[in-house]
Symmetry: C2
Subunit: 427 residues, 2 copies
């Protein structure tokens, strides 16, 4: 078979006719499939159920390391043993970690709200007083990050994503604008492309010299332990906080993480690691916002995992469940799309997504075809600021939640749809 | 014995000398006592431990009523069965309730941050743009409420507390100022006086006609089920939301509550009840802030309590533990202070505090005497905006956390200290 770009009009018409038949057959099955959101599947969740048995009415000791009763008020920054666990996960000293909330998104939102209302260390005014405030957004990226920035009135400035992270030349040029208050990154197994930033990229982040004295790097390391191949090829990236601290720039960094996709989404934990000054500032903020996080849930996690090694062993079991799903997605993409030459995609080593780059101007149409055939996928444009993909070409595939048995049908519909959209464009 | 005000100088000196001996004896015991914060005691917490057994690795069904898996993402406003439970607790329709967070203080903070950054239904601008913003603060009141208002740059305007709630004449006059954006209340078993607002007071709240179109009543009904005498005298107040809705003023009301002092502080649940427009607004905000609350913990609470009746049965057991503590406090106050005529105090029917009104100008000195003898009590002035009690006379006693056996010593030290401070003043 030839590439579409090399086909004659007659060949394209024949291909379209054959695909229309396949599409019609699939559609007639009346399927209801969903590969739209990065959710763990029930089998992944079941792996964490024993954690719920670890604290109960038979438990004799409810004291955490610093002597507080985990059932009562207090310990606004998290129990020491849990700060240590997240210190290992995020690669930061335990004393620079606060454990609170249930998602890194939640912490990002609360940090932005805090900066907006009260300002941050190093700054001279609350961010709400900066009327032209801007947020740098490496794109494609995480739609909910962009949505938070937009909600708080930031102008979202997209930055090109390269194979080793954001285009740092662009970033370095843009931060000379004092209205640029921050950048939001997913540095490892990025959403949606599965890209891990190179050591060089991370080092350039740690050396940034922004015009805004209260500029912040929101480093959402949500997928740091989410490898797919624990036997083989795993990405590791340096600790941005440690590198920035070495440059005297630790205040620039908030490293975020959570157990949302390690234990239970929304019933997990979240953590932030930062400089001592930022941690003191956050602890003060939290002392107003709350009288402490859910320490019982923190202790459950500590007892279940013990340390980073325990977390990695757990994630290896998750990988055994979801790796075949990624493989199915990639196999169908290869079988259905490779020869046509109309699409490229990544083969992630971790994280939750496969990102497909289709022929320009066909992503929206592809989503519409998918929907008509009973397949829900993330909307076209969602991975760009303001939901607007300039080339209308990127679509995000989330393979984890759907049963393995449904993925061949789902991906076949996806590929047929992408090809039909391309053929409409070419003809 | 005579009232101090009726004693001769010689009698006062003799009294002082006798008290100094008693004070010195107490001090020499080297006690470490604390009646400073409203925390449940371990025996109260133990009553909720069986709740932790209700969801575990043996649980077969993780679906909540609307079909969502409580272990996964989603259901940003709380599981339906838990919204219904809080609807009963707060006396509001379940569809007007959102369950999220872990304390009513936490919800108050997040609501203020939301109003500051994004504005509220009915308003024309975010509150941060109102430079002279003011918050009405019935006082004595809850120190952490005042602290949140101050943190967000509100001018705190104290309002007199009467025996049936805030002075509504004052409130009605003050809200003609469009910079007055809200009022923060603890309407039942108030902190610290244990006052429950009268039905007439609540009705006047429901009829307020503030100048600010986005004025809000933050109705922190934290102690609504915290009766001390389940056999006898319990306060009930009307549902402010229902009354306000009947007047077409539902948008003015956020009713807040939590299980902080029902199950586990910080590992409990919090809820807000409000008009449909406010609930829709909050649900939208939460869809950015979070991807859902801890639904596993919500289900634990639902399974444990089932309904309001289950909550009340549980609170009755708590009352059996803490009522003797309140009785001890009141007995010592009566025995030690009544005849002297230097103090008045309330006999609360519920809540967490006893509030003592000492001779003017002696509260700070009393706290200092207490501290020197090994007793920590809430700082003088804490129950007033800016920590400033104009008469320096109100002190808050929190009897629940300390062991019953320690309360006679603690209260004796308190009373001796109050009398010594009064005698210093009189002599």
């Amino acid at each position: 078979m030839k590439k579409y770009s090399e086909m004659t009009r007659e060949e394209l018409l024949a291909e379209k006719s054959a695909l229309e038949k396949r599409y019609s057959d699939k559609k007639s099955l009346g399927l209801k499939l969903d590969i739209s959101r990065g959710k763990p599947c029930p089998e992944q969740l079941a792996l964490s159920l024993p954690m719920l048995d670890l604290i109960n009415s038979e438990t004799e000791n409810f004291k955490c390391e610093n002597g507080f009763d985990i059932r009562n008020y207090g310990v606004v920054d998290g129990i020491p043993e849990c700060r240590r666990l997240f210190g290992e996960i995020l690669d930061a000293p335990a004393e620079n970690v606060i454990v609170t909330g249930n998602s890194s998104l939640n912490l990002f939102y609360d940090l932005i709200a805090h900066a907006m209302c009260h300002g941050l260390p190093g700054g001279s005014a609350p961010w709400c007083e900066c009327k032209e405030r801007k947020l740098l957004c490496p794109a494609p990226g995480y739609d909910r990050h962009f949505a938070v920035g937009e909600l708080f009135g930031f102008k979202l400035i997209p930055i090109e994503m390269k194979s080793d992270g954001p285009n740092m030349n662009e970033a370095e040029a843009l931060i000379t604008d004092p209205d640029v208050k921050g950048i939001i990154c997913v540095p490892k197994y990025s959403n949606p492309q599965g890209i891990s930033y190179s050591a060089e990229t991370v080092e350039r982040f740690a050396k940034l010299s922004p015009a805004a004295s209260d500029f912040r790097i929101f480093w959402d390391n949500a997928y740091t332990v989410h490898h797919l191949d624990f036997e083989g090829d795993m990405d590791e990236i340096p600790s941005l906080l440690r590198l920035a601290e070495a440059n005297g720039k630790g205040n620039m960094v908030y490293m975020l993480g959570s157990t949302s996709k390690i234990t239970f989404p929304t019933a997990g934990l979240a953590a932030v690691a930062s400089s001592s000054a930022n941690i003191a500032d956050l602890k003060r903020m939290l002392s107003f916002q709350n009288i402490g996080p859910d320490k019982i849930n923190q202790m459950r996690h500590v007892l279940f995992f013990k340390n980073l090694d325990g977390v990695l062993k757990h994630m290896k079991k998750q990988a055994q469940i979801i790796k075949p799903k990624f493989e199915t997605v990639l196999t169908v993409l290869k079988n259905e799309l490779e020869e046509s030459g109309i699409a490229r995609w990544n083969s992630p080593k971790g994280g939750y997504f496969v990102s497909a780059e289709l022929m320009g101007g066909t992503a929206k149409r592809t989503v519409a075809f998918c929907k008509e055939a009973g397949l829900v996928i993330t909307g076209a444009g969602a991975v760009y600021p303001y939901g607007s993909d300039p080339a209308d070409s990127i679509l995000r595939i989330a393979p984890t939640f759907a049963p393995l048995s449904e993925l061949p049908d789902a991906m076949e519909i996806f590929c047929i749809s992408a090809k039909l959209a391309a053929l409409e464009k070419l003809l």
